[in-house]
Subunit: 201 residues, 2 copies
């Protein structure tokens, strides 16, 4: 029995970008169903005492990451431009993604947000940027942004972030198959394989 | 022109174990020459304000690592047993490895030290453990341990650790090809490929 793969991602996260762009194709090739779980990494990092991205707090790690993500994207044939601001505030994008998930267009929305952040260098915290993405997908930005601002959606994002933490997620992207956790774009194929083998327990 | 691959590793590091065991085979298949560069990660982590392994300082990261390294080793067909002490003091092993490097038996020595730490669960800080490894390799433990305690070797290890830091190394294992840095056992194949393509600059 094939298990479902949950994809835990943060819109500000560099390595979540190639994972989000590759996910559906890799999963579909294996016949694995996916669930999109946007969450906020900030509160999880804050628990470790970090009030900024570790890539900013630890310069050697940051320098490496900017070079590595460039190589990763080049190998995957994905465009990449280093954003002029990092990390960008992903709160609005994550809330809108939860609305999109209710209506089953979270994948295409999420990919568009990543391209805005990491290819077009646009501020994904700006409602105009997120609104334009929604409209381009043939949805109503007014309706989606209104719904994204409701207590129900705000609570759901908090709950999803709490669930990520409870599942042991400490970075993005992560993948879970049952109780099995995989961290990083590098683990996408392995997580999909795990789900395909039905090793959910 | 094929470039040389430098392997930067720390004997206490879990992910350095599969990298060290796999390195020669992967490099030989690509016709890439390797240099063994043992160094101490402790002083580099201390610069980030950490006086212990991040896997101990950040429990979620640690829990994940112990499960992930088990999966990594299983996939590679390598035995693995979680050591009863972590991280082990790797100073003596690193000094002895520099002696072995002078005499061109650093690869087999390093693999034996990793197996002692991560398969046999032996204390690699103990001169008797390191001495037995040296003797089993047909060398003189008395001579090697004496040489490992000389100022020349102590200085060389400090210099090698400083060089790692200067090259931007922030974790182990790392690989460098010219100025190109790769971090993690996951990047071994890519680093070897980079060297094979002669992209040293």
């Amino acid at each position: 029995m094939v298990a479902t793969l949950a994809f835990w991602y943060e819109f500000a996260s560099t390595y979540s970008y190639p994972a989000a762009l590759r996910l559906e194709q890799v999963a579909a090739a294996a016949g694995v169903e996916i669930e999109w779980h946007p969450f906020l990494l900030g509160p999880i990092l804050a628990r470790q005492g970090w009030n900024d991205s570790p890539f900013n707090l630890f310069p050697a790690k940051g320098s490496y990451m900017w070079r590595d993500i460039e190589r990763v994207c080049a190998r995957e044939g994905l465009p990449f431009r280093r954003p002029s601001a990092f990390p960008r505030n992903s709160l609005l994008a994550a809330r809108a993604a939860l609305v999109a998930a209710e209506e089953n267009w979270c994948g295409e929305f999420s990919r568009a947000v990543y391209r805005a952040n990491f290819v077009a260098d646009r501020d994904i915290a700006d409602p105009k940027v997120i609104g334009a993405i929604i409209d381009e997908l043939g949805r109503s930005s007014a309706a989606v942004l209104a719904r994204a601002a409701t207590p129900a959606i705000k609570d759901r994002l908090r709950a999803q972030t709490d669930e990520a933490m409870a599942r042991g997620v400490f970075g993005a992207p992560s993948f879970t198959v049952g109780n099995e956790l995989f961290w990083g774009n590098d683990r996408l194929e392995q997580a999909v394989e795990w789900a395909k083998e039905g090793r959910a327990a």
